[in-house]
């Protein structure tokens, strides 16, 4: 017989009340776990999307020329015969303080060229980094492997009447159409892509580039800082952050996260109230029992230990069940709430131990006053008989 024997046996006796108390706290913990896990899983999903969606920093020459759009993105003062960036300067980007966050740098040279009777916008790219950045591209055929292979946008392929495997001529040189892009809905549909060195040669812009896109790994990386750092290295260029739609979604998610935490806070408060009321009721019901304990020599601290141990055991159970239930709900809800159907559920040990720890802490805090109240009971008053 030890003090915990009393606590455990009392919990066994009051199964219904303890189940009510457990469920009350469990619902609060499950809500927190669900919301934290959902927001964390959705954030990760969107951040991955941002990485997949490519560039989030754009480098263009300082220019007062005509505005032009590329892929729906403002390129500032780029024109065909505008000032260009020196290709060798791009190496400086790798020397910035946050260079570890740089996933890919995709330089481009852009210029008009005649193919047959058509004026076409030719874009010289580094296919390796371009394909890494534009993972949504669907290519019918293959990605270009050599300098004499091109990738043609879907609209351009219609106008030029070419498909993968065909050839086309630019400035007297023959190029094989390695692949044709599936419709993207962007300006890429109207372009012809060729390897960067070849495009520079065809357009007479050796060693120069028109613009560069930089993809940074976005999980918490300081895009604003990186823009400043790159701008300091490339004095003659304009460096700007691309405001992607996903960033807006992250902001919306952040608001959802804050709203979720507010809801979770209210639910936890109600859970704590349930614990408080139930424990207080339990203490009042056990007045005689506590009087007996005090009469036979239990100290106030012994009474507190009995009550708090009961609260801790129930809270521990509520924490474990709440975590399991919360993760279950999050698993079911995630496909409906995340951007992608295959968004991964985040199993975080911090959430697991945090939620169980929070349940025990809340249970103990909410039971502190009832325990103090019990320990201060006058044994004579409590027993009445004496």
């Amino acid at each position: 017989m030890k003090l915990h024997t009393i606590s455990i046996n009392n919990l066994k006796r009051r199964k219904a009340k303890m189940a009510f108390l457990t469920i009350g706290l469990m619902v609060g913990i499950a809500t927190i776990v669900t919301l934290v896990t959902l927001t964390s899983s959705m954030s990760t999903d969107i951040e991955q999307k941002m990485d997949e969606f490519g560039a989030n920093i754009l480098i263009t020459p300082q220019s007062n020329g005509l505005a032009m759009n590329y892929g729906g993105i403002s390129l500032g003062g780029v024109t065909f015969d505008q000032r260009e960036i020196k290709e060798e300067d791009l190496a400086k980007i790798r020397t910035i303080k946050n260079h570890a966050n740089i996933s890919a740098i995709s330089p481009k040279v852009i210029g008009g060229i005649k193919i047959g009777t058509h004026d076409v916008l030719l874009v010289g790219v580094d296919f390796k980094s371009e394909l890494k950045m534009k993972q949504w591209w669907q290519i019918f055929g293959d990605a270009p492997k050599g300098e004499n292979e091109v990738l043609v946008g879907s609209d351009a392929s219609n106008v030029l009447d070419v498909s993968s495997g065909d050839t086309l001529e630019m400035k007297g040189e023959t190029f094989k159409v390695a692949g044709v892009l599936d419709q993207t809905g962007s300006q890429d549909d109207a372009l012809v892509f060729v390897a960067l060195p070849k495009a520079q040669k065809l357009l007479g812009k050796e060693g120069k580039i028109t613009m560069a896109e930089v993809a940074a790994l976005c999980s918490g990386c300081p895009i604003g800082d990186m823009v400043t750092q790159i701008a300091e290295k490339l004095h003659d260029s304009k460096v700007s952050a691309i405001q992607q739609v996903v960033e807006g979604r992250l902001k919306a998610l952040d608001q959802f996260k804050r709203f979720s935490y507010a809801i979770a806070g209210v639910v936890v408060f109600i859970g704590s109230l349930i614990v408080f009321v139930t424990m207080m009721g339990s203490v009042n019901e056990r007045t005689t029992e506590i009087g007996v304990f005090r009469a036979i020599g239990f100290r106030k601290s012994h009474i507190m230990r009995i009550i708090l141990l009961e609260a801790a055991l129930v809270s521990l159970l509520a924490g474990v069940l709440g975590y399991a239930a919360g993760m279950g709900v999050a698993k079911v809800a995630l496909p409906f709430m995340a951007e992608s159907k295959d968004a991964a559920l985040m199993w975080d040990t911090t959430v697991a131990f945090g939620s169980i720890g929070l349940a025990v802490l809340l249970g103990l805090l909410a039971s502190l006053y009832p325990a103090l109240h019990a320990s201060k009971m006058d044994p004579t008053e409590a027993l009445r008989a004496l």
Partner: protein
């Protein structure tokens, strides 16, 4: 040698604007090994006197000395320790803990004692055997008769070998036959050297004790 000395003990209760004098200057001296019954009508102050003796009710004035210790000069928690080590209580309504077995109920005073669980269990079994319930240790209180519950309560009171056994109307809820058995048990414990102080309103119980103290209106009348 007196194991209990109470001198000029007064106890007043405030009920609203009225002051009720439950004890109005009581002096009692009880020798070790004595069996004392305290008798009196309802409201005479006998239960108040027992709670004062039990270290649970501070007298308004006067002195209570037990086993050489001035009880109410002890801090609250030390007083609790004193109760645990030196006193055993038998309550009128038994007050067994309903979710503990008879054996666990008897072990209750030992829950706060540093002692091996096996030793606690042995002590509780011995106490149950002394009250004639050796074979019913695993029963819950609601599976026992009133007399058996009273015996479990007595076993709980003696399991820690207290200097003094205090009992408040222990036969108040029992039929006459069971009452006789319980009183015989108290007599038997006293014969074995246990000091017993019992509050009762039943004059027949007085026959089992060495001495009877009569209380009337908060004063000893005989």
């Amino acid at each position: 040698m007196a194991i209990i000395e109470i001198k000029n003990v007064k106890k007043q209760y405030q009920t609203g604007s009225d002051v009720v004098e439950a004890l109005r200057g009581v002096d009692i001296s009880i020798e070790a090994g004595e069996f004392i019954t305290i008798m009196g009508q309802s409201g005479s102050g006998k239960s108040t006197l027992l709670s004062v003796l039990g270290g649970m009710n501070h007298p308004t004035s006067g002195e209570v000395e037990m086993a050489g210790v001035k009880l109410y000069q002890l801090p609250s928690e030390k007083l609790a320790d004193f109760r645990a080590q030196h006193l055993g209580f038998v309550f009128q309504s038994f007050h067994l803990i309903p979710y503990l077995t008879a054996l666990e109920n008897v072990m209750l005073p030992l829950a706060i004692v540093k002692m091996a669980t096996v030793a606690k269990r042995d002590a509780a079994r011995q106490a149950l055997e002394r009250v004639g319930l050796g074979g019913k240790g695993d029963r819950l209180p609601n599976q026992l008769s009133g007399g058996e519950q009273e015996r479990v309560a007595i076993a709980r009171a003696i399991v820690n070998n207290p200097h003094i056994l205090l009992a408040d109307e222990p036969t108040g809820n029992l039929d006459s036959k069971t009452s006789e058995e319980v009183m015989a048990l108290f007599r038997q414990l006293n014969d074995a050297g246990q000091t017993v102080v019992m509050v009762t309103h039943n004059p027949e119980n007085g026959a089992y004790s060495d001495r009877t103290i009569h209380l009337k209106d908060g004063l000893i009348s005989a």
